[in-house]
């Protein structure tokens, strides 16, 4: 293995970890094409298996964790990751909410195993998929499915110069109005989750004239019941509303609580 370059010995060490996930948030880091070579110049990439073979020994100054905890092995591994990192950041919907794979938390995992695999007994998996903060103390969380690469850059820049990252927590509507997009809920009568979803994506869906589906998770103190009553007036059933809330951040409060509420109000369906 190549020796550590002397010029890089003093730089802060960055570690990037993967747990249960799609690799999309790590890819968002590699998608910083214009800034990538400057970034690897400013920090020592000490642990980032998707990008490099070389592994430097801990401790690391900053650890970015992608993915949720869904296996017994991951449950143990995250404890060591916490011990190895001074500042630990959960990045993306899986790490902050359990991700889409947290849909198992409402289901019978054994039935799930039988649905997908002929030999379910070979699998070692937990009953639930949960975010990192459910297992260890997390210093900061970055939302999004996937995270916004500019928010990654803001986070790393802020940490390098020692200030708080500037990550807004207000609703998507603010961003949407700023951009002057027509409201898809008001003008088209489509069920947009923008009013209860945290900003960060750049109002992509309304920009393509489709309703927001909540991939950045709940904003600070969302009024879910008010929005749901509007959806109800548009003809959407409690079952529809439950389903809309249970996607990539479904297991994150208060989306979780609200989806449970609408589940109880579901009309018994033919099936």
């Amino acid at each position: 293995m190549a020796p550590v370059d002397e010029r890089t010995a003093e730089k802060p060490k960055l570690a990037v970890y993967k747990f249960s996930s799609c690799d999309g948030c790590q890819l968002s880091i590699l998608n910083l094409e214009d800034e990538l070579l400057d970034l690897v110049g400013a920090v020592e990439v000490a642990f980032f298996l998707e990008a490099r073979r070389q592994v430097l020994p801990p401790p690391y100054d900053v650890g970015l964790v992608e993915g949720s905890i869904s296996t017994p092995d991951e449950e143990e591994r995250i404890q060591q990751v916490r011990r190895d990192c001074k500042f630990l950041v959960a990045i993306g919907a899986c790490a902050t909410s359990g991700g889409i794979q947290a849909l198992r938390n409402w289901a019978d995992v054994e039935a799930y195993k039988r649905t997908v695999y002929p030999e379910p007994a070979f699998l070692k998996t937990l009953e639930t998929s949960t975010g990192i903060a459910s297992h260890v103390f997390v210093d900061f969380e970055l939302r999004g499915c996937p995270v916004n690469k500019d928010q990654i850059l803001e986070l790393v820049t802020a940490l390098l110069i020692g200030r708080k990252p500037d990550i807004p927590t207000h609703s998507l509507c603010v961003e949407c109005k700023r951009r002057g997009y027509p409201c898809v809920l008001v003008s088209k009568g489509e069920p947009c989750l923008g009013p209860i979803t945290q900003t960060g994506c750049g109002a992509l869906c309304p920009g393509l004239s489709r309703p927001c589906y909540g991939c950045f998770g709940p904003m600070e103190q969302p009024n879910i019941s008010s929005l749901a009553s509007w959806f109800n007036r548009l003809g959407f059933t409690p079952r529809d509303i439950k389903r809309m809330l249970r996607t990539f951040n479904g297991y994150l409060e208060p989306f979780k609580q609200a989806s449970d509420y609408y589940e109880q109000r579901e009309e018994p369906k033919g099936k």
Binding site: K18, L27, E33, L49, Y112, K113, V116, E119, F122, Y213
Partner: protein
């Protein structure tokens, strides 16, 4: 991993690489050798299962492409397009998809091929050929190459963003077409950069063909790819092989079988009654080279001459120049589509939900990604099955490793592990996708007191 030992001794040794680097997802490699004889090869996939096929049941059909996209952050378009086509068949609108929608589907897929291929070639794979541990180290000596590659990768992402808003889990494609179509001004503004990148990619393809040494390696592969009549494969076409497979899209699920083994969370795919097959750039190129875009077709004989091998390429190490040629093809095709782009009269076919069945595969950067769905009257999904490319290549990778293990008998463990890892990366394995895929392990079985496995 243990120290180098004299491999001539007739001992049993196991080599294990516990966590493979520069692959997407988590896997390991396990080799057991007895002297110069290879006893066991295992590609272990410990990427956790996420049970997509299970929780897709009960979802609305319109939600499916947004959900399956999350199987893989590297190739979300592959999952979205396969989901969309399969569900368009289920909803009975597949035949109504008109040319402008198909062209936009090809355009966004070109973006993903460019982004994914360049990421793999220059950030993950080239370091193996040039002897670096990563592109980060490689950039110190080859900064210019890395910078040019990053620029092309960015152009690929820009194409995906034009149609989908963002490059990871884009939001533009839907069952029936697209939510909205790009503004011609935005499409036109991309064109100069795509053309500049095309010229540069042609140049980089010569670099890869002329300056990189490809190890000798040969296997009798069954290559499987979409084979449309009149274009290089991407979204449409019958599924064929060089050994007689020739099926309609819907029949592919019946033509193969999926097997589960204890050491992997990915299901192994095999052609019924035959066995291992290979999907991806080599399969596509070998079966469809005469349909490459003229810019890439012109390059092909020169690349063959430079690497010293005419088609068919039966050496998995040649997947690197195959990816380069496909990147040229995708850039040239994207430029062509952008140049002639006019906003279509409709970007979406209206759909009335119905009970139905549809199966369809498209060419992900790593190979055929095949989906099938059943729906109920109100459009609720009642059954889903997804066959990702890396699961299909898993058996081929193990067979390649078996062959490679024989060639590395005389190497110490570190060197042997590097060669095997390099071979695995030939397949650009996407482990996140296939789990529903990997670790390198080689243990020395000898004096137990000295064993360090």
């Amino acid at each position: 991993m243990s120290n180098a030992k004299n491999p001539k001794e007739n001992r049993k040794r196991t080599i294990r690489v516990g966590a493979l680097a520069r692959v997407e997802g988590e896997g390991a490699l396990h080799l057991v050798m007895s002297g110069s004889r290879v006893e066991e090869v295992r590609l272990e996939i410990f990427e956790p299962p996420r049970f997509y096929e299970a929780f897709l049941q009960g979802r609305d059909f319109m939600e499916v492409p947004d959900i399956t996209s999350r199987i893989c952050g590297i190739c979300p378009i592959a999952y979205q397009s396969a989901s969309c086509y399969a569900l368009e068949k289920a909803m009975g609108v597949f035949d109504q998809l008109d040319t402008p929608i198909q062209k936009l589907r090809d355009l966004i897929y070109c973006g993903e091929w460019i982004e994914s291929h360049v990421l793999h070639m220059f950030m993950l794979h080239l370091a193996d050929f040039l002897g670096y541990e990563s592109a980060v180290s490689m950039a110190r000596d080859h900064g210019g190459i890395v910078r040019r590659a990053l620029r092309i990768k960015k152009a690929g992402n820009a194409i995906v963003e034009l149609l989908g808003g963002r490059s990871v889990h884009p939001v533009g494609m839907c069952v029936g077409g697209f939510y909205s179509c790009p503004d011609p001004k935005d499409a036109a503004s991309l064109l100069p950069e795509i053309k500049a990148c095309l010229a540069d990619m042609v140049d980089l393809t010569f670099f890869l063909a002329q300056k990189v040494t490809y190890p000798d390696f040969k296997q009798d592969y069954e290559f499987v790819a979409l084979c449309p009549d009149d274009e290089y494969p991407m979204n449409l076409g019958r599924i064929k092989s060089n050994k007689g497979l020739d099926v309609d899209q819907q029949e592919f699920g019946e033509a193969i079988e999926e097997r589960q083994v204890e050491h992997s969370n990915a299901l192994f795919s095999a052609i019924r009654g035959r066995g291992a097959y290979l999907v991806g750039p080599l399969a596509r190129l070998n079966l469809n080279y005469e349909k490459l875009h003229p810019v890439a077709a012109d390059l092909l004989p020169k690349v063959c001459a430079a690497v010293g091998k005419n088609l068919p390429w039966d050496n998995s190490f040649l997947s690197l120049p195959a990816r380069a040629l496909e990147t040229v093809h995708a850039l040239a095709l994207a430029a062509e589509i952008l140049e002639s782009y006019e906003p279509p009269s409709r970007c979406r076919i209206p759909i009335a939900p119905r009970a139905g069945y549809g199966g369809h595969g498209t060419e992900a950067p790593r190979g055929v990604c095949w989906h099938e769905y059943r729906t109920e009257n109100d459009g609720t999904v009642s059954f889903a099955r997804i066959i990702p490319p890396t699961a299909q290549n898993q058996m081929c990778i193990e067979q390649d490793l078996y062959e490679m293990a024989k060639q590395v008998v005389d190497l110490e463990d570190e060197g042997a592990a590097m060669r095997c890892e390099h071979l695995i990366r030939n397949y650009d394995p996407c482990i996140s996708c296939s789990v529903h895929f990997l670790k390198f392990e080689r243990t020395w079985h000898e004096d137990p007191a000295k064993s360090r496995s």
